[in-house]
Amino acid sequence: MSLLNDSELKNLLKKHQPHAPDAPENLLNTILYRMGLEKRQNNYRSTWILMASGLASCVLVFTLMDRQFASQFNSASNSIAPSVAMTAMLEEEDESESDLNSPSLNIGEAYLSLVSR
C-alpha cells in the first residue's frame, strides 16, 4: 500500500474518528450537584417539603390522638359510676363482716369470760 496523501489521511481520520459514547442521563445532574446549583434548589425544595409533611403528620397524629382519647374518656366515664358504687358497697360489707370476725373482739370476749369466772 502506498503512503496516503494529506487529503486521504484527513478523510480517513474524519471517517474513522473515535466517537465518544453518549453521556449518561445523570451526568448533567451530577455536574449541577457538584457545582452546588442543584443542591441549593433541592435544599430549599426539600426543606419546604419536609416542613409541610412534618406539619401534616403532626396534625394527623393530634387529630387521631384527640379522637382516641375522647372515645376512651367517654367509655370510661360511662362505666366508672356503677363500678365505683359497687366497690363502695363491697367495701362496706367487708368492713361489717370484719368487725364481727376481728381477732380483737375475740380476745375481749375471752378476757371477759375469764374475769367473770
Partner: protein, 182 residues
C-alpha cells in the same frame, strides 16, 4: 458546530432574566457537551470520560465570568477541554490511550463492512500510538478542522510548533497505517 461569540452567549443564555443558574448551566451544557466530550475522548481515550467532562464543565462555568472577549467562545471551550484531557494524561502516564474500538456506528452495511471495521481499528490504533501533544494537534487540526492559528491559541504554542507537530504526526500516522494494512 456553529461558532458563537461571547456576546451571543450572553444574550442567548445569561441575559434571560427568568432563568436560574441551574437552567443557564443546562443550556451551556446542552450546547457544548458534544464538542467537549468528543475532544476529551479523542485525546484521552475512553476511561474517565465522564469525570473529565464534569471537570471541563466546572472549569467552563467558573471561567465564564473571567472570560475576556479575546477569542471565540468555541475556541475557549476547546482550550479547556484539551487542557483537561492533557492534564489527565500527564497525571496518569502509565495508562495507554484506548478507544475501545467502536464498531457499531457510522459504518455503512454492505460487502465492505469487514474491511471498514479493519480500517477503523487501524486508524484508531494509529491515533492512540501518537504522543499526547501530537494527538491533540491531529484531533484539532484534522478531525475538527480548526485553523492552525486557532490550534496554536488553543494549545498555547506558536503556529510554527503546531505545523511541526502536525507534520511529524502525519508522517507517523502514514507509516503506522501502512504497517497496519500490510
Amino acid at each position: 458546530m456553529k461558532s458563537l461569540t461571547w456576546p451571543t452567549i450572553l444574550e442567548g443564555i445569561f441575559f434571560k432574566k427568568n432563568l436560574s443558574e441551574a437552567e443557564q448551566f443546562t443550556l451551556v451544557f446542552k450546547e457544548y457537551q458534544s464538542l467537549v466530550r468528543s475532544v476529551i475522548f479523542q485525546i484521552s481515550g475512553d476511561y474517565a470520560l465522564n469525570d473529565l467532562s464534569q471537570e471541563a464543565f466546572v472549569r467552563i462555568w467558573k471561567g465564564f465570568p473571567k472570560f475576556r472577549n479575546e477569542s471565540e467562545v468555541t475556541s475557549w471551550i476547546y482550550r479547556i477541554s484539551v487542557n483537561v484531557a492533557l492534564d489527565h494524561l500527564r497525571e496518569n502516564k502509565r495508562k495507554p490511550v484506548d478507544y475501545e474500538y467502536d464498531f457499531s456506528t457510522h459504518i455503512a452495511d454492505g460487502p465492505t463492512l469487514e474491511d471498514e471495521l479493519v480500517q477503523r481499528q487501524s486508524v484508531q490504533k494509529s491515533l492512540s500510538t501518537l504522543s499526547d501533544e501530537h494527538r491533540a494537534v491531529v484531533v484539532l487540526a484534522l478531525i475538527h478542522e480548526r485553523p492552525l492559528s486557532e490550534v496554536a491559541h488553543i494549545l498555547d504554542v506558536s503556529e510554527g510548533t503546531v505545523k511541526s507537530r502536525l507534520f511529524y504526526a502525519k508522517e507517523q500516522l502514514r507509516q503506522s497505517l501502512r504497517k497496519e494494512t500490510l
